[in-house]
């Protein structure tokens, strides 16, 4: 599970800088996640300076 809160997000790109698998991108629509690349490690969740990302480990993965 990956939830991005567009109202909290400041579009700083911090999540992108820490993503170990290059799964995030900042587009004009906001933060976009590549589901195939994302390993739901949650580093972006911990890192986000304003708490705009919530990640829960997917059970199937």
């Amino acid at each position: 599970m990956f939830k991005w809160n567009k109202n909290k997000c400041l579009r700083c790109g911090g999540c992108i800088s820490v993503c170990p698998n290059d799964a995030l991108e900042l587009t004009e629509h906001g933060i976009v996640r590549d589901e195939k690349k994302c390993i739901t490690c949650g580093i972006c969740d911990l890192f986000c300076p304003v708490g705009a990302i919530k990640v829960k480990k997917d059970r199937d993965k």
Partner: protein, 391 residues
Amino acid sequence: MRDVIIVGAGPGGSATAKHLSEKGYSVALYEKRQEIGAPKRCGEGISLGRVERLGLNPPKNCIRQKIDGAKIYAPSGKAVEIDYGKDSGYILERKMFDKWLAEEAARKGAFVQAKTYINDVVRERGRVSGVKGESCSEKFEEKSKILVAADGVESKISRVAGLNTTCNPLFIDSGVQFEMVGIEIEDPKKIHLYFGNKIAPRGYLWIFPKGKDVANVGIGIIGNCSIPAIDYLKKFVENKEELKKGSILEVNAGSIPVGGFLKKMTLDNFLIVGDAAYQVNPIHGGGIYEAQLAGRIAAEIIDEALQKKNTSDNQLNKYNIEWWKQRGNSLRKIEKLREVVENLSDEDFNYLADKLTGEDLVNFTRGNSLVTLAKLLLKRPHLIKLAKALL
């Protein structure tokens, strides 16, 4: 066909563009944001010595406040004062400063274009030979002899180009910053830095005055903290009499590299400058100077490579060597200090605040006299390991 394309118009990109344009090369500098300098990144401080060393003479509107020193607060509240000398530091207006640097590059002949997002590189026989992107939603491709990635800590271009720049996320601090007005600043000629694990785990909280009642108030904390940086900052502001009645004019966030330096920042026809290569002072997270220094070095190496008509990785490797010689090695020394600081408890901070002078702190942040610190740490049995790492 450009001689050089530079991605990212922060201080590093603009410096590279300026120096290369001065030498007569055809340079394009692309910035993804619609306005260069905005929204600004966290820090706005630089010392006068650094500004002079870079040969800069910024116009008055780039400088909000001149600084004489710093006050470093331990968790106990005890402050250690540092005297830098009269007007020896600047608090910049980054929006103006970054834009002025880009203007300078343009005046020297660089083609500068905002709202231009570079998302891929063009390749020829496997080597990087240009960029693909979108400028004001129009797709384009452009070739260049050399490509410079100066696209910040979230750099995509380096990875797309084939350099694995992913570093341990623990080497990146999570930062957030308010521009506040209507506050009381006890001493507006000093920057104020607050340390402590309850205030700013691993990092610090800063008040950089931009006038008598205006300041850049921000925080950088370790990146794997379960409480977001903004919550620490809000708590501090709410509990501080001088700040809590203030208004917030800006909220900005960002990631601050504090280590993870790259030995190799080059490929055939390609190199990285600034935050994208983690060229930042790891003790305070400032990189305005480092990025521009790297830009100047890069321009010299690129000049030589273009003159020799040899832009191979082998030739550009001189950039790696020069950077490490001029700055990298001393930053690595300073990184050791950061490794110590991040392992200190609040009690340790208080202990050191009692023993150290402002002069000691200045020396440490320059990577000097670390033996003095090590000797103090040796007196605390649980810190012996840290002390040894310093020696």
